[in-house]
Symmetry: C2
Amino acid sequence: MARRLAILAGAGALPVALAKAQPEALRIVFDGVAHDLPAPVEPHRFEALGGLFEALERAGVADVVLAGSMSRPPLDPERFDPLMRDLAPRLLAAMQGGDDALLRLVISLFEERGFKVLGAHEVLPDLVCGGGLIGGPTPSAQAETDASRGADILLALSPLDIGQACVVAAGLCLGIETLQGTDALLRFVADTPAALRRGRGVLVKAPKRGQDLRIDMPAIGPETVHGAARAGLEGIVIAAGRVLVLERAATLAALRDTGLFLQAKVL
Amino acid sequence: MARRLAILAGAGALPVALAKAQPEALRIVFDGVAHDLPAPVEPHRFEALGGLFEALERAGVADVVLAGSMSRPPLDPERFDPLMRDLAPRLLAAMQGGDDALLRLVISLFEERGFKVLGAHEVLPDLVCGGGLIGGPTPSAQAETDASRGADILLALSPLDIGQACVVAAGLCLGIETLQGTDALLRFVADTPAALRRGRGVLVKAPKRGQDLRIDMPAIGPETVHGAARAGLEGIVIAAGRVLVLERAATLAALRDTGLFLQAKVL
């Protein structure tokens, strides 16, 4: 019997792509967390993690993949099941750190229970790109220089559990991604007064060094391309093999529509 | 005869405070650069740096202080005087770097010509604060922890010539200052969806490590306090002795009005 997969789904196109590629997979969604999965989905609550574990075990699930964006929903301690009550001190400690600390804890909890936690790129390897130009025109020399400075910025922030994206234009850093995500970063850059800008610039996106790619793997899609275009950028540079490209066809179409480039580089 | 000072003024309250403290100082402003100085001011053009040097020398100026915010005005090479034409290669090289590279060049040019370049805090020492609570309530323990994480973030970015401010709330980084400045950072933080936030947070402001404080010294004022309040923050932490507090009385009044704290710490 094949190992059964469960997709623990947040919002966005990634869980949908995974569900399409793995039609036998169990689709788990969470109360208070938006998702875009078609039925059948099985709703659970974060407060009842013990119940989720038991349901997965009853369904014969051996592998799980966490996919899609999950804004941290408020947890109601009144509704904690016994497992969650036991975990409360570890949860509290992890919540003091960045997002990664919390996600690392979630992975550990599944592993301690005996599940194997996969990355989306392990379930569907087509989601990542090797090095090279993926679409659009050849990047300018300035874009190459800016991408290199952007990679340096992300590397410097990496030990602090921040920064999977930044924007550099003609040597000037116009924005660094924080909790609010890439779309908010691009809106911020789009609002930069023209007098402060000295060139078009690039969005650089890469996972933190040493990041567990099974959680919070950086991703781009057509909306990223359109956001970068609205921010006046020349293109997007992603870390080869370590950034998901969602909705590939629509992303390529967005590159054609906007004239932006998308390049994967070893960062 | 006393050494004469020239204030090279951009926008904001700092040049005004310096001119008030040093009424004999020459007040230099620049075409295309906003300023708030009362008359008498002497207008110059960046394109005619040689002419500025000669005017300062004729007026008996020995010391200069650069003060106020100057957004980079577009330079018109057609109007360059001979000195600026000679400097063009160095200017071009410096403009590829961050703001600091350009400002370091400007300082060098004045020094090579024989002027002494002072920091605003050397002209008016009351502008900076020693360690301690400057105004408002005692910071919470969480604010202390957040300030420490903010200082770590600024330190990591320091070698890259970015980041004189950031916002951390309950361990989560909500924003890092880039070219657009502190007010833009605070507006970005104010727009953070409430669901993503886990605490009030602090604005941390400090110069880059090893930064020449005669240029681009970080500053706060009443508008910073109001911006931080609109961003929902608990208070502001500045590096003791290395961040200017402009309009002290109005800043203290803003702290009283908003209930925020302002603390200087050795960062």
